[in-house]
């Protein structure tokens, strides 16, 4: 291509500019980066109800911050809790305005108390009439439990019982002012329940929560040095994970960048490779992101993470060019011609392999496919268009002896020696027991690393509170609210049988179905139908007749209407949390808490037994999503590899193609064996590493094969690619974060194996290669 430099720059910048401009017009400005992992599941996009319910459930959980202050001395511990609460409020966390909402809620229940008899109470009044009612009033008056007359107009104690049957947040903790408190093992515990204003997963929210907890701990210990302070919440875990990741990534990035820059400087003794490689990297990521946004409107966070990693392959093209330019025999004007076959073949096989991922049918893999293909093409474009017009003068760099070591290694490995066959066979033999020990994991919890102290605190707090977070939630769908409430009651009745100690949370616990409320009102109507009979029944038990008259007067004054959902939500808007907006249908969200972990199978079984009810376990869904992505992507990689094999057969013939395919597969086998030996599970991160290994391994064999007479430069390019990959991704094996550790370890072993086995793709020579 004999284009002038200006034309090349113009074409390159214009193509990138058009792509970015088009992407800008398609960008979802509100959500440019999509962090919702559940949307990776194809079915998820078809179920907005599940998405909305999951978001609601997650937000409620994620914003909560629980602080537990404990000590032997009650007043001191309470003061410490108060100081901690003050510090948390001062730091910007909030407490609920529950006092006012509570007042409104109880007023609402009070107003509608005639509608709130349960089925058993209704049946009793229906059967026993005025005598049964008088008896209940007498019992209420006589009971030692009714010594405190909380509800003046609740002489039968019915409303008290309704209130008492409302679900309790923490079974063994009872209110003491703004706190909940209990005694455990001679220690007084105070619970301070706070909420974050923003998202717990955002940096701002997580940092604020961590600082607030730090301040609260200091404040509590200032008041009571001997008190124990514990805190937990999603924001604290997010902050710890982010701090860990940032710390590790910082030092790993610094170390790997320094190593790579030193290596490039040592070999090329020039600034140009740094600048051009950086230009290629930035351009390829920009183009890849723009292509994804142009196609999908936004970009998944996983696409950015995995896609950028996979684009590490693109640096191979740059090294191929640099090696030939600096150390090859060609004149600068001929470098492109020499490297073109290797470059194009590497590009073609890479694009085909990644394009295959788009057939997975998963949004995430579609995006990664588009990202990788666009990124590779852009990286190739930079090499083809820009490198030849920037590296135009012959380099004046003396060839360092180290620059010829790769060539010597290749030649050595290509001697017809028995070790050429024995070593790979030995490596495979050693790998076989590892394969048998290999196991998979798609649980996202296995990918994370949190400080032990934080995990311990979380377990202790939930143990103390007697409330273990549930594994999921129920969705109750029906044509109207009444039917939904009825289904929820049926579900709860089943759960009470299987999980008698569990706390059931749902709207039906706060709002009886209208049919029950109407039955309650009818029962009362019959009671007050004959005031004289009521008076006689009261008198018969020695109760004041005036009391009967006053109750009857209250009945006459009351609105004989059921309590509606709207009235309830007007009083306590947070109860609306249980209702999921879902078009024309009514959908309720319900949950179940317990003192111990609940087997999700029991919940799933209970849900399956009630029409319109389903059990949703978000964590399981994420795990399933990762599992399906991993399995499907694995098959696509295999199919893609077969297609690449066909390309290689077409280009090099069957015999040579088979030899070229052997080293990457050998590297893959050795890597899987090593992972098995080291007990590292195969997860989605490892799969990405394996794709990277196969891609780079394939590039190595293609570059060496296409290098031909230019073995020195192609061997150097392959060596530099391997070393830089080891410096960047291989270092991640040192990470404490399981996901990064597994990825780094797989890359470390895989790239080493790919590099060492690359010479096997070349035929043996008696006197070495030319």
């Amino acid at each position: 291509m004999h284009l002038p430099a200006a034309a090349r720059w113009t074409i390159w910048l214009a193509s990138l500019g058009v792509l970015c401009g088009f992407a800008w017009t398609r960008l979802d400005v509100q959500h440019p980066i999509n962090t919702d992992i559940l949307s990776l599941l194809p079915g998820e996009r078809e179920s907005p109800v599940i998405a909305a319910a999951t978001e609601r459930s997650r937000d409620a959980f994620a914003r909560q911050l629980l602080v537990l202050v404990s000590g032997k001395d009650t007043p001191q511990t309470r003061s410490a809790a108060s100081a901690a609460q003050g510090a948390l409020l001062a730091a910007g966390l909030q407490m609920d305005d529950s006092g006012r909402e509570l007042g409104r809620l109880l007023n609402t229940y009070q107003t509608h108390h005639f509608a709130l008899l349960n089925a058993a109470q209704t049946a009793r009044l229906d059967k026993g009439g005025v005598n049964a009612f008088a008896t209940d009033v007498a019992a209420s008056m006589a009971s030692p439990a009714a010594m405190v007359n909380v509800f003046e107009s609740d002489p039968g104690g019915y409303l008290s019982r309704f209130i008492s049957e409302l679900p309790r947040p923490y079974p063994d903790f009872l209110p003491d002012g703004p706190y909940l408190t209990a005694v455990r093992d001679h220690q007084r515990y105070y619970l301070v329940n706070m909420e974050l204003r923003g998202s717990a997963f955002a940096e701002q929210g997580a940092t604020l929560a961590a600082h607030a907890v730090h301040d609260a701990q200091a404040a509590a210990h200032k008041v009571c040095a001997g008190c124990k302070f514990q805190a937990t919440g999603a924001s604290l875990f997010t902050n710890a994970a982010r701090d860990d990741a940032q710390h590790e990534i910082q030092w790993l990035t610094i170390v790997s960048t320094l190593l790579i820059m030193t290596l490039i400087a040592f070999v090329f003794r020039s600034l140009a490779p740094h600048v051009l490689a950086a230009l290629q990297l930035v351009a390829s990521i920009l183009a890849a992101s723009a292509a994804v946004i142009a196609w999908f409107g936004s970009i998944q966070i996983l696409t950015l993470v995995f896609g950028t990693t996979l684009l590490g392959i693109a640096i191979d093209y740059a090294f191929l060019y640099f090696a030939e330019y600096w150390f090859g025999d060609s004149a600068p004007q001929s470098v492109m011609r020499v490297v073109r076959p290797g470059l194009f073949m590497g590009l073609l096989t890479g694009v085909v392999a990644f394009a295959f991922l788009s057939l997975a049918g998963f949004p995430a893999l579609n995006q990664i496919a588009v990202f990788s293909v666009a990124g590779l093409l852009e990286a190739g474009l930079v090499v083809v268009l820009i490198f030849p017009v920037t590296l135009t003068r012959p380099p004046h760099v003396a060839v360092h002896p180290a620059a010829v070591w790769p060539q010597r290694f290749i030649k050595l490995a290509c001697r017809p020696h028995r070790w050429r066959y024995l070593l790979p066979a030995l490596a495979l033999l050693l790998a076989i027991p590892g394969w048998l020990r290999l196991h998979t994991s798609d649980d996202v919890r296995d990918l994370q690393h949190f400080p032990q102290q934080l995990i311990q605190n979380d377990h202790q707090i939930h143990d103390t509170l007697g409330q273990i977070p549930p594994p999921g939630y129920f969705l109750i769908e029906a044509s109207d609210l009444e039917q939904a409430l009825g289904r929820e009651e049926t579900l709860f009745a089943r759960l009470r049988q299987t999980l008698p100690d569990a706390t059931l949370l749902g709207l039906s616990r706060f709002l009886p179905p209208v049919r029950q409320q109407r039955a309650s009102l009818s029962a009362w109507k019959r009671i007050f139908a004959s005031p004289l009979a009521l008076n006689r029944a009261f008198a018969h038990l020695g109760l004041p007749v005036e009391l009967a008259m006053r109750i009857e007067s209250d009945w006459r004054a009351a609105a004989h209407q059921p309590l509606t959902a709207q009235s309830l939500f007007d009083a306590a808007s947070d109860l609306n949390t249980f209702v999921i907006p879902a078009g024309s249908n009514e959908t309720l969200l319900a949950s179940v808490y317990s003192r111990a972990d609940i087997n999700p199978a029991a919940l799933r079984q209970a849900a399956a037994a009630v029409s319109g009810v389903s059990f949703v376990a978000p964590l399981t869904r994420i795990t399933d999503t990762f599992h399906r992505i991993r399995v499907r992507a694995s098959w696509l990689v295999v199919i893609g590899y077969l297609l690449i094999s066909a390309l290689l057969v077409w280009r090099y013939g069957r015999r040579e193609a088979l030899r070229m395919l052997y080293p990457p597969l050998l590297a893959l086998g050795v890597t899987l064996g090593a992972l098995g030996w080291l007990n590292v599970p195969v997860n989605i991160f490892v799969l990405v590493a394996l794709i990277l290994i196969l891609g780079l391994g394939r590039d190595y064999t293609v570059f060496l094969r296409e290098g031909g007479a230019h073995l020195q430069s192609s061997a150097l390019a392959v060596t530099l690619s391997a070393l830089t990959t080891l410096c960047s991704f291989g270092l991640l094996a040192l990470s404490q974060i399981p996901a990064l550790h597994a990825f780094g370890l797989a890359t470390l072993v895989g790239i080493l194996a790919s590099y060492l086995s690359a010479p096997l793709s070349l035929p043996t020579t008696h006197g070495g290669l030319a």
Partner: protein, 190 residues
């Protein structure tokens, strides 16, 4: 979730629950037996409701509160289970976990009967007046949930652990006055 606070708040209305939250049952008498006369004054009613009955507490059978007149009513609780026998003979089982104030009542009474001031002082301002025979103890709830419902509790003892009278005044204007019979008997223990 915010609604958990609403529920928390709802429980604040079960005012005496804070006492139950004290956790440990105070050192209790091994037994207490007495007849009593209960006078309940309701706000807005000039004539109080007077009933008679017996109270029995022991470590084996727990707490038994029986009204014998003007109707028959029994309340029994052993810490884990509670039940009522209504005037019409109906037996009604209560779940103590759902009704913590039942245990609260037991707790107040036992604290008062056992003369356990330390425990009561956590939640009440305890004012003791010496009488020629025994003491008069005025319990005024400290600011908090209890104070929302109870104005004060007055316990008159003829001797430590020998209550003669227990008066609970609630904030609605009503009151509960329990006078124990002279034959009341308390056996001290752990």
């Amino acid at each position: 979730m915010k609604y958990t606070h609403i529920l928390t708040g709802a429980w604040i209305l079960c005012a005496a629950s804070a006492v139950y939250a004290a956790g440990n049952i105070p050192s209790s008498p091994t037994g207490f037996d007495s007849s009593f006369i209960q006078t309940r004054t309701l706000p807005g009613f000039s004539v109080p409701l007077v009933s008679r009955g017996t109270l029995h507490i022991d470590n084996t059978h727990g707490f038994r509160w029986e009204i014998t007149s003007p109707y028959h009513y029994v309340f029994e609780m052993d810490g884990k289970n509670a039940q009522e026998r209504l005037p019409d003979g109906t037996i009604r089982h209560l779940n103590p976990e759902q009704t913590p104030w039942l245990a609260t009542v037991e707790h107040i009474l036992i604290s008062a009967l056992a003369g356990d001031r330390t425990d009561l002082q956590r939640y009440f301002v305890v004012n003791v007046t010496q009488l020629p025979m025994g003491q008069r103890i005025l319990l005024t709830p400290k600011p908090g949930p209890m104070a929302n419902a109870i104005n004060n509790i007055l316990v008159t003892e003829t001797a430590p652990g020998h209550p003669q009278r227990l008066v609970i005044k609630d904030n609605s204007g009503g009151s509960m006055d329990i006078r124990f019979g002279p034959e009341s008997h308390t056996a001290s223990g752990s």
